[in-house]
Symmetry: C2
Subunit: 107 residues, 2 copies
Amino acid sequence: MIATTPQPPYYAVIFTSTKTTTDEGYNEMADKMIALAAKQEGFLGVEAARNEIGITVSYWKDVASIKKWKEVSEHKIAQEKGKTTWYKSFKTRIAKVERDYEFHKTN
Amino acid sequence: MIATTPQPPYYAVIFTSTKTTTDEGYNEMADKMIALAAKQEGFLGVEAARNEIGITVSYWKDVASIKKWKEVSEHKIAQEKGKTTWYKSFKTRIAKVERDYEFHKTN
């Protein structure tokens, strides 16, 4: 689903990754982290897709809520497991959404 | 591939979409537009993945280069075809990347 977000400005965390061949427990953890993120203060929405690379974009009210989410203990455990087991490489980009527009087919 | 981008600040265009059932010509056009974008001034890189939704993130030097790319005539034709044929809905977000960090497995 395309995330429903408020009027800009708000923040996006663009998390791009490539995985190792070890999938064990990954999908469960990914689902769990999305559910947990959704409970955090300042969370606005999330979008994810994966082929050769995975892209997860989560949307947040401000930088403070992103920093707090990064430090949530269950999330820290998941981050560590990501590095040791699931991810071959990743890049995280913190970006301020300045403008957005959308299209919905009506016919 | 995870895009190799310079030190922030730079810009990201987060394009999230859902498709109609009409795939005709879509992949060819998507490849063509990525190749054309890569030739534009200010283009820094692109990442894409699609499952239920598609996420394409392109990276740019500044807002001016994003605006110029939006007006490139072949790109405008593709945008129009996207609305009439391929996309059920989409959302485009223009965001300023303020900070990034990355991880590469070494063992």
